[in-house]
């Protein structure tokens, strides 16, 4: 069976996204929720990369190996790959802040359960 790389990355990305959401919605432990978020984030990054990927395409470097006129059809779109780098950095930052909150919450409440975070409601 011939499975293109893009199909694999796309389905893996979607799977990670869904697993991450499942984790965020079902796990009561704040750390586990954060892991869920990381999975969502990674899933999205994989989807992003897939969007720019061209099956069988070559690296987006214009040299002798690539015909300038047909380059648009031959090379992989470099923009999503560039963007994904930014997105990864941002995702890292958010994960770090989330973890910092988790530490603080644990310090104050001696608990990591999201169910203990319901002081304000209504």
């Amino acid at each position: 069976m011939d499975l293109p790389v893009s199909t694999i990355t796309l389905s893996t990305g979607l799977a990670l996204l869904l697993i991450g959401m499942w984790g965020m919605l079902t796990q009561k432990n704040i750390i586990r929720m954060i892991i869920g978020f990381s999975l969502i984030d990674t899933g999205v990054h994989m989807i992003m990369v897939t969007i720019g990927y061209l099956s069988g395409g070559t690296a987006p470097i214009i040299n002798d190996a690539v015909d300038r006129l047909t380059a648009l059809q031959d090379v992989v779109d470099p923009v999503p790959s560039a963007l994904v780098l930014t997105a990864i950095v941002i995702g890292l930052g958010i994960t770090a802040v989330m973890l910092a909150f988790a530490v603080q919450i644990h310090d104050k409440k001696k608990s990591l359960s999201i169910e203990n975070c319901t002081e304000s409601k209504w």
Binding site: M21, M24, L25, T26, K28, I30, M33, F37, I40, D41, V44, I47, M48, I51, V79, P80, L83, T86, A87, I90, G93, I94, V97, M98, A100, F101, A102, Q104, I105, K108, K109, I114, E115, N116, C117, T118, E119, S120, K121, W122
Partner: protein
């Protein structure tokens, strides 16, 4: 060099650069770091405001190209007028808001950099034209916000912060996915470039991309019900941070929505629905909220919903040229008012609304709170008023009555909880006045002033005769500045200024306006003269009195519906505040405000639908309305009937009229209440005279409603012990006759209406002023505690006597003419049943009027009252003027009837003929001059005989204690007073009829609204996971709503 410094890109560079340097500098010197922090903020504000001024002057917008490459290949930023406006407003809020975070900044230098970066992130969200770059700025803003959420280390703040992070990080993930899908379809990230390739955004991927992008932005605006996390944050974080999230971060998110709206063509109805649902639901839930900050949170969320609704609807209708006024007005209004309120909540630091008691004793604090709340509730002259007005006009013109209803209902609910809070602040409790450092009030005071200034600018910009509509406001401000002067001097100043202003106004009016010019302005001036009787300073009273009197003048000068509505709202607000000064008024002021606003909104909707049909806001063009004439007339009439206290809509009236300060009650009942009559006649003149549509049926209903009010008012007055309440119910009843007379819609009817109006002004002004003197002297309002006062207050006795004869409709005084004209009009119209009821109701009126004389002035005097003296001559003087007027009109009715008839000339066929002093109609004649002569004769002859006899006969005058008391001493002696519960036998007979049905009904409405609020808010469980689930549901919901399933 200077130009280089002022380049808009520096908004980002400077904040980012200094932001990262600050923690390093703080290591060597904390004070240098702080100085740099403030300097940078000033610099940011300087750049944005310099550009704002330049762009207003017509300079071209700035395109910022990055990396030396043209878009769409590199990121570009755009800095046009809107951008400059929003960024300047946000920078200003940021710089003033950091004033309230100084303590946090001192303890941790890093928080200053986070704060700078937050401001920068918002500017970036506003300026960028690149979708991915927008995502970056959203995330920068988000990260900086998270940093500030952790400033306060209380567990509740941390928990709320974590929930906030979960929800917003999910939202930005959606935004990123949507962006990437759009890139996939269009091959570009540049928003303008995407707009050129809209045809490529199709199919399921296009739909999914749109939904994800929209949800990503909408969630940042905290739509119901996916917004519990936002409210938790508003409730728990430091006030300065809450303010920044509410106005700054939301401004960025809203601007992002504004930018992507053109990409979302087909989604607009859904966006409108999301906004409308949020606006309505949040305001319902706000009703249940007693925590100040969370309540402000609900209001913030609601306002964002309103702006979302407005934006989507204006684009749907193709009226994007109104975005500036509607969205701009609502935006700046919310920014200034909400930031100010959050700051104030932080300064006063009392979490519960009911704990704000005592603010009344901090006048500056109270004025600031009053301005901020009035702006948020959409009162003039603040920018939100103009925005909401134009929104309603455009919604009506776009034939979206449902949205008109939603916007007005939501606004009413919002006013309800905001003013309930204000009601606590108005309560009198000196011991609980908050201690506040004056410097802390500088930023919030600046914002209150900015609200006034922007309100003026908008009025000016609209090309209204701005100075004219704003006169009452200016009057209020000037008089407030002079509030330190002695009371009587201020009173003279108000009255003098009013006389100088009102005289040329009245002279310039004609027809109906002229008649009401005399009633409202001359009558108002005469009755307001009574305020001179008090010599105390009455802080705040005179500025508001000035506002009220001058707004009556503006009401008459108004040539457009906008000016009329403006004046009407100023009148409402100033009456509300004046009533609130009454000692026992606090239970009644909220009811008063709710009904007044309800009335104002009905009128606004009426004006809106009129504009929708004719495209004109001129009052004169109301007569061009044809298709929707019935609807417009019904809305206007209903609105004015609320203020006229028609039965069923009257529940606000007794409390307000009786609990206001005594001299103001007179003005309220005799003059201010007449503004509603003016409105009714104005609406009828333009819309009802032609009788198009079903207007005649409406008039028929109104005629019954008026008489039912007359009867209910009279019956309720019968059983009052409180003399002012008696007069209040009496006002309701008497105005009922006027309403019926207007509904007759003939020359006779309207002359009767005009006559009754003038007469009511005279006798009710007279009675309320007389009672003011009485209450002032005796210190009580309960009639059975008075008695035998005829000798102590003889002039007041004469006033009351003349007043009740004039009211009761018996010859020879003016009341007879009114009843005669009314009955003539009703018979002439063929409304015999109404005529019968009118006759019966006026007989009932006689019973309660009798008590005023009998219980108060006759009978036994109380021991404690034996040394009472006559009321002040300053109070008696206006009464004498009114008596003179009553007598003159009684002797020469032509003096009154001729001008009234002439002001309605040419509208109806003539039905009144004068024959000397005799007035003839189709049904009979009346000669007022002859009647008074005969009556005088009938009274004079026995008087002369008695006087003559008393000189020759042995007469022993009965002294008060010449009577023998029985030997018993009852437990509660006052209940044995003959005047106590005087008409109890009628009460027994009429019992079932007199249950307070209307009050019960409106209590039910209030309770139901609260129940709706409780039901809607059960979704807010406080659990962060549930909130994340709502965010996910939101995607699904929007997807289904835009047709993703079909």
């Amino acid at each position: 060099m200077v130009e280089g410094l002022l380049a808009p890109i520096n908004l980002i560079i400077a904040a980012l650069g200094v932001g990262f340097l600050l923690p390093l500098i703080a290591r060597s010197s904390a004070s240098i770091a702080r100085g740099l922090f403030w300097l940078t903020q000033v610099f940011l504000l300087l750049i944005s405001s310099v550009w704002l001024l330049r762009l207003i002057d017509g300079a071209p917008a700035v395109e910022v190209i990055t990396a030396g490459i043209q878009p769409p290949f590199a990121i570009n930023l755009y800095f046009g007028l809107f951008e400059a406006f929003v960024v300047s407003a946000v920078n200003l809020s940021a710089i003033l808001g950091s004033w309230y975070l100084i303590d946090y900044f001192k303890s941790r230098a890093a928080s200053m950099s986070v704060y700078l970066i937050l401001t920068m992130g918002i500017s970036g969200m506003v300026m960028t034209r690149d979708l991915f770059n927008l995502f970056i700025f959203i995330e920068i803003t988000a990260l900086a916000t998270y940093g500030l959420l952790a400033l306060d280390k209380r567990p509740a703040s941390l928990a709320a912060g974590f929930k906030y992070i979960i929800a917003t990080s999910l939202a930005s993930t959606f935004f990123l996915l949507g962006t990437m899908l759009l890139y996939h379809l269009t091959g570009t990230l540049n928003i303008d470039d995407m707009l050129l390739h809209m045809d490529r955004i199709t199919g399921p991927v296009g739909l999914a991309a749109g939904v994800l992008l929209l949800v990503g932005v909408i969630i940042e605006l905290k739509p119901y019900p996916a917004n519990g996390w936002g409210l938790d944050v508003y409730e728990t974080v430091p006030a300065g941070v809450a303010a920044m999230i509410s106005v700054g971060v939301s401004a960025g998110a809203f601007f992002a929505l504004y930018k992507i709206v053109p990409l979302l063509g087909d989604f607009l109805p859904v966006v409108a629905a999301v906004g409308g649902a949020t606006f309505l639901a949040s305001n319902f839930i706000g009703l249940r909220q007693r925590n100040v900050r969370r309540m402000l949170g609900y209001s913030s969320v609601a306002q964002m919903g309103l702006m979302t609704l407005a934006l989507a609807v204006l684009y749907m209708l193709g009226k994007s040229e109104y975005v500036t006024l509607v969205i701009g007005g609502l935006f700046i209004n919310h920014l200034l008012a909400k930031a100010g309120l959050f700051w104030l909540a932080g300064v006063v630091d009392r979490p519960r609304t009911e704990a704000w008691v005592g603010l009344r004793h901090r006048p500056i604090l109270l004025v600031i709170l009053g301005i901020l709340l009035a702006a948020l509730a959409g009162f003039p002259p603040f920018p939100g008023f103009w925005g909401k007005w134009e929104l309603i006009m455009q919604l009506s013109a776009g034939e979206l009555p449902f949205w008109v209803f939603v916007v007005l209902l939501g606004s009413l609910l919002e006013a309800a909880y905001l003013y309930r809070w204000f009601g606590f602040a108005l309560q009198d409790d000196e011991t609980r006045a908050p201690a506040v450092e004056p410097v802390k009030l500088i930023p919030v005071g600046l914002f209150a002033l900015s609200l006034l200034a922007t309100g003026h600018l908008v009025a000016d910009w609209l090309g209204l005769e701005a100075p004219r509509v704003l006169v009452p406001i200016y009057m209020g401000i000037i008089l407030y500045a002079l509030d330190g002067m002695p009371g009587r001097l201020k009173a003279l100043l108000v009255l003098g200024a009013f006389a100088v202003y009102a005289y040329p106004v009245v002279m310039g009016l004609e027809g109906l306006h002229w008649l009401f010019g005399l009633i409202l302005l001359l009558g108002g001036g005469v009755i307001a003269f009574a305020v001179l009787h008090r010599s105390d300073a009455r802080r705040g009273f005179y500025p508001l009195l000035g506002m009220l009197l001058f707004s009556l003048a503006s009401l008459l000068e108004a040539s457009s519906t906008l000016e009329f509505f403006f004046a009407w709202e100023v009148l409402t607000l100033s009456s509300y505040l004046l009533i609130s000064m009454g000692r026992g008024a606090r239970e009644h002021i909220l009811t008063f405000l709710m009904f007044s606003l309800g009335s104002a909104f009905l009128i606004l909707a009426g004006f809106g639908f009129a504009y929708g049909e004719t495209g004109s806001i001129l009052l004169a063009d109301l007569s061009k309305v044809e298709k929707s004439a019935t609807l417009v007339f019904m809305l206007l009439t209903l609105g004015f009937l609320v203020k006229a206290g028609a039965a069923g809509l009257h529940v606000w009236l007794p409390g307000a009229y009786s609990e206001a300060e005594d001299d103001f009650s007179a003005l309220l009942s005799a003059v201010v209440g007449k503004a509603a009559i003016f409105g009714l006649l104005l609406a009828a003149m333009h819309l009802a005279v032609n009788g198009v549509g079903a207007i005649n049926q409406v008039l028929y209903v109104v005629s019954w409603l008026g008489l039912i009010s007359a009867l209910v008012g009279a019956l309720m007055a019968l059983f009052q012990e409180d003399v002012k309440k008696l007069l209040a119910y009496s006002s309701m009843g008497q105005v009922g006759y006027i309403v019926t007379a207007i509904a007759v819609s003939s020359q006779l009817g309207w002359v009767a209406a005009g006559y009754l109006t003038v007469n009511h002004l005279l006798f009710k002004g007279l009675l309320f002023l007389a009672v003011a003197g009485l209450v002032y002297q005796t210190g009580t309002r309960l009639m059975y505690q008075m008695g035998g006062l005829i000798k102590n207050l003889p002039m007041t006795y004469i006033s009351v006597l003349i007043g009740i004869i004039a009211i009761s409709g018996v010859p020879p005084l003016t009341g007879f003419g009114g009843k005669w004209l009314l009955l003539n009009a009703l018979f002439d119209k063929g409304w015999y049943w109404q005529a019968g009821l009118a006759f019966f109701a006026s007989a009932v009126a006689f019973l309660y009027l009798f008590r005023l004389i009998h219980t108060v002035f006759l009978g036994q005097r109380k021991q404690a009252h034996k040394d009472l003296r006559e009321a002040s001559w300053l109070l008696l003087f206006p009464q004498i003027l009114l008596i003179v007027a009553i007598m003159a009109f009684s002797i020469w009715p032509k003096l009154l009837i001729d001008p009234i008839a002439s002001s309605f000339a040419g509208i109806f066929p003539e039905a009144l003929i004068w024959d000397g002093t005799m007035l003839k109609t189709r049904l009979g004649y009346w000669d007022g001059f002859m009647v008074i002569n005969i009556v005088a004769g009938v009274f004079l002859v026995p008087l002369l005989i008695l006087l003559f006899l008393s000189r020759f006969m042995q007469i022993q005058k009965v002294k008060q204690f010449n009577i023998v008391f029985a030997a018993e001493r009852p437990e509660t002696p006052e209940t044995t007073h003959y005047a106590y519960n005087f008409f109890s036998f009628y009460e027994k007979a009429l019992g079932p009829l007199l249950k307070p049905r209307a009050t019960a009904f409106w209590d039910g409405v209030s309770e139901w609204s609260h129940t709706i609020g409780s039901t809607l808010r059960v979704l807010y469980t406080g659990n962060g996971q549930t909130y994340a689930l709502y965010v996910l549901f939101y995607v699904v919901m929007i997807y289904i709503a835009v047709g993703g399933m079909g």
